[in-house]
């Protein structure tokens, strides 16, 4: 009974979260929704007598893998890929039709399948404890796949290192080189560095562009990532001349 309650609350929520994952625009929101789905699954595992897997699901997936996703999102940033408009003509209807057909057929198949007996349940298998039962299997029947998978893990780690490694072809520019480069190329206006955000504006948060002497906004003062993402606030409302700057006499 408690399991049914859990299922009928968490299950639809998980499905809604999964659908939302496809619909939200920002990848980071997708990641959070996915994390929710995974936590739900962890609950389901535990509810089905897979205590160890439930814990691992939380630790490995929601913890490590999702952190990795967020970390990469931070590295890669956001770009036009976040747009949800379809660029390949006809792909979306086809894909959705096919996938729904797939899902429908699966559901139909599952509903038609009969076991011919009652589900056994894991009470007997978990008699000595779920972790002990899994360990028994892993280190006897599945010891060879276990070892192979360990080799796969090491290989994957090495592969990721190799892929992410960048061979430096020229020496890392020193501060002196950067300084010279700044003065020798581009305009002298940027030689002293780009303007910081919020300058001459009354609001100096990072998403508020600095104001040029003529009162217009200076986009160069905003981080490129924020600019691309459109997280730039119109700073005109914070212009000094819009604000009453009259100094009042203290009475």
């Amino acid at each position: 009974m408690p399991e049914s309650v859990l299922f009928w609350i968490m299950g639809p929520l998980a499905v809604v979260a999964a659908v939302g994952m496809l619909l939200v625009k920002k990848a980071v929101h997708s990641a959070l929704l996915l994390a929710w789905v995974m936590v739900t699954l962890a609950f389901f595992y535990i509810a089905q007598g897979a205590l160890f897997l439930g814990i691992v699901q939380v630790v490995v997936y929601t913890g490590a893998v999702m952190m990795l996703f967020l970390f990469i999102l931070m590295l890669v940033g956001v770009d036009a890929a976040d747009s949800l408009t379809e660029t390949i003509r006809g792909l979306r209807p086809i894909a959705i039709t096919a996938a729904i057909g797939f899902g429908g057929l699966m559901v139909s198949l599952i509903s038609r399948a009969t076991l011919g007996r009652e589900p056994v349940g894991l009470d007997a298998a978990n008699a000595a404890g779920n972790v002990q039962g899994l360990a028994q299997l892993l280190f006897s029947t599945y010891v060879w796949p276990f070892e192979v998978v360990s080799a796969l893990l090491i290989t994957a780690a090495l592969g990721a290192m190799v892929l992410a490694h960048r061979q430096r072809e020229v020496a890392r520019p020193s501060q002196r080189d950067l300084s010279e480069q700044r003065f020798r190329s581009g305009s002298l206006a940027t030689a002293a560095g780009l303007p910081g955000p919020g300058v001459f504006a009354r609001h100096n948060a990072v998403d508020v562009p600095a104001l040029l002497p003529d009162g217009s906004a200076a986009p160069a003062s905003i981080s490129e990532t924020l600019r691309t993402r459109g997280d730039m606030i119109d700073s005109s409302e914070f212009q000094l001349d819009q604000v009453n700057t009259e100094v009042r006499e203290e009475k």
Binding site: I88, L91, A95, A98, A99, G101, F102, L105, M106, L109
Partner: protein, 630 residues
């Protein structure tokens, strides 16, 4: 067998000369011809030394050999590149280097105005080397190397003036006709190796005893094919006339005295095979008899002095081949005729060259006439050669040719009478056409441009002609005196039991031969010696004359039977290659290209569209499962 490590120098000297002259380019233009002549002469001296040493030994110990290197050593198949000089080889060595050196000397003057004289001498030296290898090789395979070498030299020298397309064609014709013969030689070697497991002369000789009649006959016929190719015998005779495109010294050396007699050498060398294969031997006789008449008939119709002499060469070699086909008794006479022929025919060719040289490269005898007044020495030397080839005693031809006719008559039975009569008739024809050459060229009234009378050639040209004329006079007597050559060659051949049945006494045969010669010469005199000769060939002649002028239709025959069907076959094969073979290859490529480009349109390069296809595939799969579990 005695070993003499100096034999190789006989070949190495002229070969070195050829390489040096060819490689050193124009630098050698000034001295190249002298070097080549000197090297050829040194080769002759070495040969003469060998001969002298040979004379000092007993007949069984005369052969000397030298192993050069181990050439092929595969399992039980071992061939050493080795040289062998025995009584037969030394005759050839002396003829090749002797006549060769004389012709080198002659060529110095004859080719004086040719800017490619150095190249000419390089080829001549190369020919000498190859020909020496041919006669000195101790196995059929070594002989084959020399055989191909002389073929190459002949090709290069016939086409020496290859800027004229007709000459280039002539050289190709000679080469191709020779290739047909060479196939015979290579087949003979292969059969010999397959059946006997050896290709050396001594090995084959030993093994011939225990070999089947069929194999020996096959080898013999293949060797005969080789001989017909190289020696311009029927049916591969067609190239010799065109080979006269080469410079005259080449005609004298290669296409009269030495290379074309290689076939006779081959058959004589293989005597142990032919003696054991009567069928092949009979074929040799038939080929010789046919060629003898064939050449003589062509000779009667030719107006080109060189071509007339070439036809004569063909005919005379026919005599030699005929003699070799008569078995042990004939070999020595074949070689004797070969040697005397080497002298008188080379002498006559050089005489013809001298005449051409004196008349501005004119070869048409109808444009000569009465040249003896201007070129007395040429006339004398040519005349001595003429008497020799006719077989007038005591000139060289008398001793050699009469012996062949005699042996032919003694071959026994109807065969003897038949081939004896052919040989006798050939002698009459020889007398006719040689007298015709003689009369048209040297006698009668002048038919050349009177403003440019012929002039006698220089001393360098006359000297070899003189020496060869002496040979024409004396060689027959020297070789036949006390049967010197017969005894000299005796150790090589199976002992022969004297002559066959003497159906007529030798004296009668000699008188008969002399009589037909006189008749032939007299007919020529009556036809050409009296009155004037038209300076263009008359056209209102009988069909036989016309056929003879067309070389007895040999070229027409070859063209219609071999060349045109061959061309048609080649065209068909080319077409097949284009359409079927290339068509298949191109078709496969085109099909791959077409299918690729049509399949390409399904490729968008977008990962997501591929993913969509995977989803569709999964739907199909699930639908299938759904359907079958329904």
């Amino acid at each position: 067998m005695l070993v003499n490590n100096g034999l190789v120098y006989l070949i190495a000297l002229p070969l070195f000369g050829a390489a040096l002259l060819l490689l050193s380019g124009r630098r050698a233009d000034r001295w190249g011809h002298l070097l080549a002549t000197a090297l050829s002469g040194m080769s002759f001296i070495l040969g003469a030394v060998q001969f002298y040493q040979m004379l000092g030994r007993s007949p069984e110990n005369r052969a000397v050999s030298q192993k050069l290197f181990s050439w092929i050593s595969v399992g039980s198949f071992n061939i050493d590149a080795g040289l062998l000089v025995d009584q037969l080889s030394i005759c050839f060595v002396l003829l090749i280097t002797g006549v060769g050196t004389l012709i080198h000397i002659y060529s110095i003057a004859y080719m004086d105005h040719d800017k490619d004289r150095r190249r000419f001498f390089a080829y001549l030296n190369f020919f000498i080397a190859a020909m020496l290898l041919l006669v000195m090789g101790d196995s059929y395979l070594n002989l084959y190397v020399g055989w191909e070498g002389v073929g190459l030299a002949s090709y290069l020298l016939i086409g020496f003036w290859n800027h004229k397309p007709a000459y280039a064609t002539a050289s190709k014709k000679a080469f191709i006709a020779n290739r047909v013969g060479d196939m015979g030689l290579s087949f003979a070697i292969m059969i010999a190796f397959a059946t006997m497991g050896t290709v050396s002369f001594s090995g084959v000789k030993e093994a011939a005893e225990g070999t089947s009649q069929g194999a020996l006959t096959a080898i013999g016929i293949m060797l005969l094919l080789a001989a017909t190719g190289k020696s311009a015998q029927f049916p591969l005779q067609a190239w010799l006339g065109d080979a006269m495109a080469g410079p005259t010294p080449v005609s004298a050396l290669i296409h009269a005295a030495t290379m074309v007699t290689a076939g006779v050498y081959l058959i004589t060398r293989s005597n142990f095979i032919f003696d054991a294969a009567p069928t092949a031997q009979l074929l040799v006789v038939i080929v010789g008899a046919i060629t003898l008449l064939f050449g003589a008939i062509i000779g009667t119709a030719k107006d080109d002095i060189k071509k007339a002499l070439a036809a004569s060469t063909m005919s005379q070699i026919g005599y030699m081949v005929l003699a070799t086909g008569l078995g042990p008794v004939g070999y020595a006479f074949a070689i004797m005729h070969l040697l005397t022929h080497g002298f008188f025919k080379a002498g006559m060719f050089l005489g013809a060259g001298s005449v051409m040289h004196g008349t501005g490269d004119e070869v048409n005898m109808r444009k000569f006439g009465g040249i003896r007044h201007f070129m007395p020495i040429t006339f004398a030397t040519f005349g001595l050669g003429y008497l020799a080839i006719l077989g007038v005693p005591p000139f060289a031809g008398f001793y050699s040719k009469d012996k062949i006719i005699e042996t032919a008559f003694y071959a026994g039975g109807i065969k003897g009478i038949l081939i004896g009569s052919v040989a006798l008739f050939g002698a009459a024809l020889t007398a006719f056409y040689m007298s015709r050459v003689m009369i048209l060229t040297f006698a009668g009234t002048p038919r050349y441009d009177i403003n440019h009378p012929p002039h006698e050639s220089s001393f360098l040209m006359l000297l070899p002609m003189g020496i060869l004329a002496i040979g024409s006079v004396a060689s027959g007597f020297l070789l036949a005196r006390g049967e010197a050559l017969v005894h000299w060659l005796e150790p090589l051949f199976e002992a022969h039991e004297g002559h066959g049945k003497e159906i007529l006494p030798p004296v009668v045969i000699s008188l008969m031969a002399l009589a037909v010669v006189i008749i032939g010469a007299a007919i020529a005199w009556f036809k050409y010696g009296r009155g004037t000769v038209a300076d263009t060939a008359p056209t209102d002649v009988s069909i036989f004359t016309r056929i003879a002028r067309r070389d007895l239709l040999q070229d027409d025959f070859n063209e219609s039977v071999f060349m045109r069907p061959g061309q048609a076959l080649t065209r068909l094969l080319v077409k097949t290659d284009d359409v079927v073979v290339d068509g298949t290859v191109r078709g496969v490529a085109a099909a791959a290209l077409a299918s690729g480009s049509s399949l390409r349109s399904t490729q968008t390069g977008f990962v997501r569209s591929y993913a969509a296809l995977i989803v569709i595939g999964a739907v199909v799969l699930i639908a299938a499962i759904w359907a079958v579990t329904l």
